[in-house]
Symmetry: D2
């Protein structure tokens, strides 16, 4: 860092574009979830950021985009760090710089934490970039980018395998000049998590600022505060859920550690889904849609599904049809995405970068047809 850089508390930087559901009322900017970050039009020859991080077993990862191209991606260790966002640019030239979190909110590691405290630069910050569209994404491991990095043979559930940078979200947003909010959690579902853990449903945390960031520490950053839906009105809300509910039918039962209740989504002997359990998923899907609609009265809602198999496609369609019949709300659609194959699979049997490119192409084309 050059000696002539000036330090700015992040709370004093007016011209910063915040990505994600971020509360500006604090002195610091917490990045609690994937896709959350800051973006600046900076005129300095260099720019550094002061951050603080912590974790128990899932370390936060971040990425840096310069003028829209990702040039760096790395983990952040515990403690305070001053990190270079760029350097070596001719002073006075405006550089668009985006620094964002790759890792999803870590419900399983309540210590995982990443906050931005200040910036060092020899330049000034111009008006930040303007985005034409606002898109909200709700999903599971697919939306958390699991498998977009890593080798096919990687087996462990690691932080580096997840990303925002290579997801269909990032690709779609670039094509549509859109900004995103993301609420996603690997293994979670509509009615049940992948392992029949019924606590793991996104709906329970959707209306909090960043409810999936568990733990006392994240509460200090307002993670569990009610989110102010009036503050940001998305053009579309994209739901990408159902994959884990489908898995649960093939997994063992789950014993709730608190209540001791044992639970499992069931198949009949012929392999078909037990109708009663199908109804549970349908009801949960309808409840989720109703909540999203209540919170986002004018947004187009699109449910997309299929990258890891089509098992629950008709069940989800049924939920949407029932919701439409009941509500007379037609501002909702359903899109199926192609299942991955050997050419598009990434790490850990999840969609790879190529699969996300295909999904982004389909979603982008669809949203363009909606936004005309």
């Amino acid at each position: 860092m050059n000696d002539n850089l000036i330090y700015y508390d992040i709370k004093d930087v007016y011209n910063v574009k915040l990505h994600g559901r971020i509360d500006r009322s604090m002195d610091v900017i917490p990045l609690l979830s994937n896709g959350q970050g800051i973006e600046l039009n900076s005129t300095g020859s260099e720019l550094w950021v002061d951050i603080e991080a912590d974790y128990d077993f899932m370390e936060p990862w971040v990425a840096i985009e310069i003028n829209g191209d990702m040039v760096s991606r790395f983990m952040i260790d515990r403690g305070e760090h001053t990190i270079c966002l760029y350097r070596g640019i001719q002073s006075g030239r405006t550089t668009r710089i985006k620094f964002y979190r790759e890792l999803q909110a870590m419900s399983e590691d309540p210590k995982t934490r990443l906050v931005i405290k200040g910036l060092h630069t020899d330049g000034t910050f111009m008006a930040p970039p303007y985005y034409e569209r606002r898109l909200e994404f709700i999903g599971d491991s697919i939306t958390s980018g699991e498998g977009t990095y890593g080798a096919p043979e990687d087996e462990d559930w690691t932080a580096y395998c997840m990303s925002y940078s290579r997801t269909y979200i990032n690709l779609t947003c670039k094509e549509l000049n859109a900004e995103s909010h993301v609420i996603s959690q690997g293994g979670w579902g509509i009615f049940s998590g992948w392992d029949n853990d019924r606590r793991h449903v996104i709906r329970k945390y959707y209306e909090q600022q960043c409810g999936l960031a568990f733990g006392e520490e994240n509460k200090k950053y307002g993670a569990d505060k009610p989110y102010d839906f009036a503050s940001w009105n998305p053009d579309a809300v994209i739901i990408n859920l159902g994959t884990n509910d489908a898995s649960a039918f093939n997994e063992a039962s789950f014993t709730d550690p608190d209540s001791g209740d044992v639970w499992k989504l069931r198949r009949n002997e012929d392999g078909s889904i037990v109708p009663e359990d199908e109804k549970r998923i349908i009801k949960a899907a309808i409840d989720l849609i109703k909540m999203i609609r209540k919170d986002n009265p004018s947004s187009h809602i699109v449910w997309m599904y299929g990258m890891l198999g089509y098992d629950l496609s008709l069940v989800i369609s049924d939920a949407i049809n029932r919701y439409k019949a009941e509500s007379h709300d037609n501002n909702i659609q359903y899109i199926m995405l192609p299942a991955i194959n050997k050419d598009t699979v990434g790490a850990r049997q999840h969609p790879g970068y190529r699969a996300h490119e295909i999904a982004a192409r389909i979603l982008t084309d669809y949203l363009k047809s909606v936004f005309v």
Copy 2:
């Protein structure tokens, strides 16, 4: 044609593989529909075919594949012709030769007709190729390959724009080593044709040998005879309908020339579909599925939709869900295909070859997962 070739009546050629719903009880082999054709393992240095054709305004087109690669494609004029299927091959070498119709059954041109009468060769015919799978396809202009040939600016509805060779059918069958039966008609639908003509629904002709080949002449070839479903048991039946029903909502009303009835599928003022009309489509879709199931008790049924827009996706899903709830038949699935975009559109605003390649990839992957 060399002098030393020997002529065989087609009825006397035992080692011929017939593609499509073809009645071998006649002296000739009529090719009444797209994808219908003959295939031979021929040892001759050359092979010619005697055919007879007719049409009023839509001339039949055919294609020739040698060892699986299409090398020739052309129209057939009225009258009798002797056409070279190949020549110049070393005598004794076995050549796999397929000669098939590109043009759909032409309901609007009852004179369109193409029959195979005999073969000329200096060789013999070995056992024909074996196919592992049997697939039946039911569709509209997409399945008739409209737009797979022709320039983007082509506007007229011409025979050359349609094909079997470049459709997702041909591509899927090659990947799965499958043979196909095709029942498709451009402009037709589930409940209504694109122009609100309610006579134009595939279901009415599905159970005939080749009911979409209208006219007295085609009757002679058994076009309207009941089809013997026991004769060929498909592993899967693929339905690709709904695009024209969706169009009908945006078109003027249609006056039935016979009854004088005026008919139109209707939208509400807010653009949504009139529920009563939606129910009509759902009922028609269920009736179609029931008929297919009755005729093909053990076949997997998959409905695919979306290449020209997703408008009726949830309506079709609803029909399938209602059918499943009523019948407890779970051997049915629904797949959405990506809508075309500027890179995948072909002639006449229809899916181009690239769009069919994408559809074939998705369908092939899906069927592989079913056939395991």
Copy 3:
């Protein structure tokens, strides 16, 4: 053919665009070589062409493009034929129609012949399309499109395996809005044919109208007349030769049937080329370039090579360097093309369509940089 069509002798059709070195002084238009054809802007609802053809063992193949998209491709049998170029178009609409020969001039089958005699239409012919560039191509089987059609396992040397439609020539010309002249012959070379037959060098026939169309019959069409180079000034002459000279080093010696001379291009024991033979190729290459330069004083000359291996790349470069040093002519360049691999190979171990697409991309980019 409708009754109301009017017949025009081709000699009376003024608004016809001729492709290739074609002599308009005759009553008919002979298509003696690959890429030769006619192009029309026709307002009729249909258009038919009268042709006459002959062959001994290599039948002529043709293709039809409508508005720039190839829709048909087929062989022509011996005798007189009336062939439909298109039909079913709304009368009065202008359709751009191109009818051209796929098969190279057949030096080995002097009976191969194809002539256009007249046209039938119910419309008129508007001014033909204008091309911005003129390109001349000189080559061997690669330039004759051998392998661009046919299955990988095809072994025989057949007419259907060759094309103009799928060659780098056609693709390059479409991108540059250029018309082409082609002088190519499978198996021929700079100094020697693939089998050490020294008679098979393009240079000997380059200055004739269409010298590679052998035989008395073709002479009637002026095939062996001196070509009038002043009549058509190419922006660039592309030479694609050397592949067969390279092969000759690996083949047996050839005994000239006329002189009885035995000849072979030789390798040393270590596999390297005998310097004396290398010099022979260099001299022949320089002689070819000199002839092309004399005949086309202002054209850019580019030699491209490599699709079937790089063996003679440095030898060809040496020839060009020597020519440049001697002539001080700098309007010449050399381009290497990528060798085929398992993804780009076509029939008969020759470049497939994908290989020609790659070659066209490289040549097009290069010519754009020259034509700025």
Copy 4:
């Protein structure tokens, strides 16, 4: 970092695979040049590396590959750091980990420096991976990966724009299971740098351990020591030079700061190259080839050129031909690569990742044909 990790001096780690010309005689492992790095088969649940770095204006960048997939890439600031190479893997599972330098040796920033001192892990190191082939690459900014990262509009010459990870080197080596040595420097040439600075020729430093890493500090790591060519015998040496010599003809003259000599490569008025200057380049190219041959008697030598234009292609060919004629050495070849176009350009008008993929495909195919 967990408390239970054990520290190992890097000098004590036997099972480490070194990439690049690296001297193991020191206590530390200096990474002085692009592609230099360490690779380990590690059984620990985590692995950290102790490094030390410095720079004046060009900071070193590094990348981490886990099981062959790059998951992280970032700059290293001045000072000592402990960096996590991976964590969160199940203990006992063998993870293949590669940590390497992205940035070229920085002749213009003699302070640029990166050294590895030790490793921390809770596991052991198994036998490192085995590579079948050894490849040496000699080049300029293309080989230093300039433009493989960064946006098209990036203008400054920055460290993040350069890489080893996205170059044709890395891609080719992965396909051939090869390891690489790289000697490359942006702006340098055969006879002259891009700006007519004649000091900037690779040949002057080729025989040193890592001569392009200037400065007293790097000397301590043996940068200017004679390289022991007997220690590593490459299967092929790939030269990718000439682009900057071509540029120099279009740039202003250069005044040598030491001697005061003014120098410029010259064009004639008609744009052609002054023959005397061409001869200078040819001589320098021959001298380079001779040196490489002397140092690598049995290696195949291939010169590849063209990604940024074909201007000197024939000049380089001429040099190779003259070398061959003089030396009778036939174990050398020349390959042209396709020039970049709008779809393949990266940052700073240099080849992008897509261009490197194309180059790698061509080089890989070629080397496979040599290595049979």
